[in-house]
Amino acid sequence: MTTAAPDLLALKLVFITGKGGVGKTTVAAALAQLAAEHAKRVLVCEVDAKGDLSALFEAAPTDFVPREISPGIWSMSMDTEASLREYLKLHLRIPVVGRIGPLAKAFDFVATAAPGVREILTVGKLCYEVREGNYDIVVVDAPASGHVIGQLAAPQAINDLVKVGMIRGQTDWMLEILSDANQTGLVAVTTPEEMPVNETLELAARVKTETTVRLSAVVVNEVLPELFGQHEEEVFEQLRTKKAEKALSERAGGPVATVLEAARLAVTMRRTRAQHLEDLQRGLDPEMAILLLPYLFARTHGLRTTRQMATALGEELGH
């Protein structure tokens, strides 16, 4: 933590994004878990449904209708066609069976041509849940960095593209929710590696210029533990001299060279990553909150991981 922790749990709508492979689903699950531990009703939504999210709660994959997968946590998977169906039912009172078939097909088609349509159905559903107040907080396992911008910018894009009509009327209240930093926030997840850090910095800049959403925090996942302080490193080097290594091997009853080598590798890995972390800090606004989550050696999946990450996230947020 570098600056005052943002109160992510006070938000109503939190989008979690990041480059593929950095663990954004894990962070989304951890935030949902943390919120539930604070007695909040949580809706967690997986936008690019792969079923990973429910697996982090040891639950079966979910669909468009939210299901309670853990005490206080409801989970859903985004489905734009189902979202359209719900929208039409709510706003046009169209008899759903019969007419909807070709219409949904046509929409799928239009959505392919005009990407804003698909995105608005996703963001619209999420904003709708916020407006209805069915949950205290909606956590979104959003698409990877590049795509999330399109999604968050969709209401504005639709506003530009569609001058009149019902959808136009619908985007105004969405924009209101998305633009309110007290309600909506974006969390960028990264690892302390070169490409994810670069992508995070690009994302931070684009969020500012292309969307009305505020970047609330950057989460750095998989931070390796610091093995040695400075003096300890000197002692480590003394232990790695030929003489000391030989003595150690004799005392321990086996060749310790590889054990020492593994530690050297760990130190190097940590150092390379520390450099990227520094680049990240330098590239972000000085007041941006950077939350650090540890690299987990023992487990990478499942409820145990989710709880551990929730605890770590809670500590970083000062809860």
């Binding site: 232990l239 003595a247 590889t258 054990v259």
Partner: protein
């Protein structure tokens, strides 16, 4: 479930590449796909010669800078021999690189297929077209394959290594040409166009339009119609092209190289991807596993030794350094670190053993201490992959 057969030692990436003209590097995000594609291309130039192109999407800035690629775009540029010489290697051929510019590629494609200058100008100005070419995510996938086709048919290169864009679904780009063809040949498309063309709304389509009008607004629908009408003039060219691109991917001269790490999520995606390639009768040439931890971390004898060190850190370090208290702490940390990484290494080895349907060539690349940010690094990575 059958276990994977042992990788055939007679097979190697170098042999694979000498028999192929196109290598498509694919796999999950964040595993070093771009770097691996560049490394394979550079090594091919160093070892085999010929004219090799790497068609890349988004290389790390430091790497792009080091190769002199800063600011390049769709147009292929040659990497200076000096870059190889500085890395201590005399290139036997030429290394070329191009970076995918989606918007530019779309504009070029329109220029190619548009029947006349007026249609071209109208399409380029249509707001929907601008959306598709600039923001439509799946259009990246199509355009990557389209560019590959374009470059390959020019016959300028002996080998083309393609880095695929990071996609929501690793398979998107395989389907992209077909989807593009379907898109333009759909009956629905014609149906959508009719009323705005003839101004005659028949009984069957009227309900759709009245609903669509209420939701989307008339102007938006008019934009859509204009877009489709304009695009229809290019229909045949596009479908033909998309079919040709599909054929190229299943051509004997094309092979796929799945890049992954042994972490749980990427390896699962890589496995899924390999299975899909096989199902589609596409040639899965090799699986490259990056960032694999050293074998010694899994050695049970050494693990026992580490446990012993952890338990007797105080006595073991006595008299070896100038600070016994610190030495004890350091030895504990050293042992603990070994045991921690040992867990990860064993888990990853297990993931590798479970990798089903692997091709003959399965290469593991060790974890490098430092990032790869220059030609020397690329060639070092390439050497690991090569034989």
């Amino acid at each position: 479930m059958a276990r994977r057969k042992a990788a055939d030692p007679a097979q190697s990436v170098s042999r694979l590449l000498s028999a192929k003209e196109i290598v498509i590097a694919c796999g999950p995000g964040g595993v070093g796909k771009t770097t691996t594609a560049a490394a394979v291309a550079a090594t091919a130039v160093a070892e085999q010669g010929g004219r090799v192109l790497v068609l890349t999407v988004d290389p790390a800035r430091r790497l792009a800078d080091a190769l002199g690629l800063k600011g390049i775009g769709n147009k292929e540029v040659r990497i200076d021999d000096e870059v190889f010489l500085r890395a201590g290697v005399t290139p036997r051929g030429e290394l070329w690189a191009a970076m995918l510019d989606t918007k530019q590629s779309w504009d070029d494609l329109i220029a190619l297929h548009a029947p006349d200058a007026e249609t071209k100008a109208q399409i380029l100005a249509n707001p929907l077209y601008q959306n598709i070419s600039g923001r439509f995510v799946q259009s990246h996938d199509y355009i990557a394959m389209e560019r590959l086709y374009e470059i390959h048919s020019e016959g300028k290169y002996d080998l083309i290594v393609v880095d695929t864009p990071p996609t929501r679904n690793a398979l998107d780009f395989l389907d992209a040409p077909q989807r593009m063809a379907d898109f333009f040949s759909s009956r629905l498309l014609r149906w959508l166009i009719v009323p705005y063309r003839s101004r005659l709304v028949n009984v069957a389509t009227k309900p759709f339009y009245s609903i669509a009008d209420r939701i989307l607004g008339t102007q938006f629908l008019a934009d859509i119609s204009e877009f489709f009408i304009l695009f229809q003039s290019m229909y045949e060219g596009f479908v033909e092209r998309a079919d040709a691109v599909t054929r190229l991917m299943s051509d004997r001269r094309t092979t796929f190289m799945v890049v992954s790490t042994l972490e749980a999520t990427p390896v699962r995606e890589a496995e899924f991807f390999s299975a899909e390639l096989t199902k589609r009768k596409l040639h899965l040439g090799a699986i490259i596993l990056n960032k694999v931890l050293p074998d010694y971390l899994r050695d049970p004898k050494t693990a026992k030794l580490a446990q012993y060190i952890s338990d007797h850190a105080g006595a073991l370090g006595e008299g070896l350094t100038d600070d016994p208290a610190v030495a004890e702490r350091v030895l504990s940390e050293v042992a603990e670190s070994f045991l921690n990484f040992g867990i990860v290494a064993r888990r990853e080895a297990e993931q590798q053993a479970e990798l089903h349907g692997a091709p003959d060539i399965l290469v593991t690349v060790p974890f490098f201490d430092a990032d790869i940010f220059d030609m020397e690094g690329l060639l070092r990575l390439g050497a690991q992959v090569w034989d």
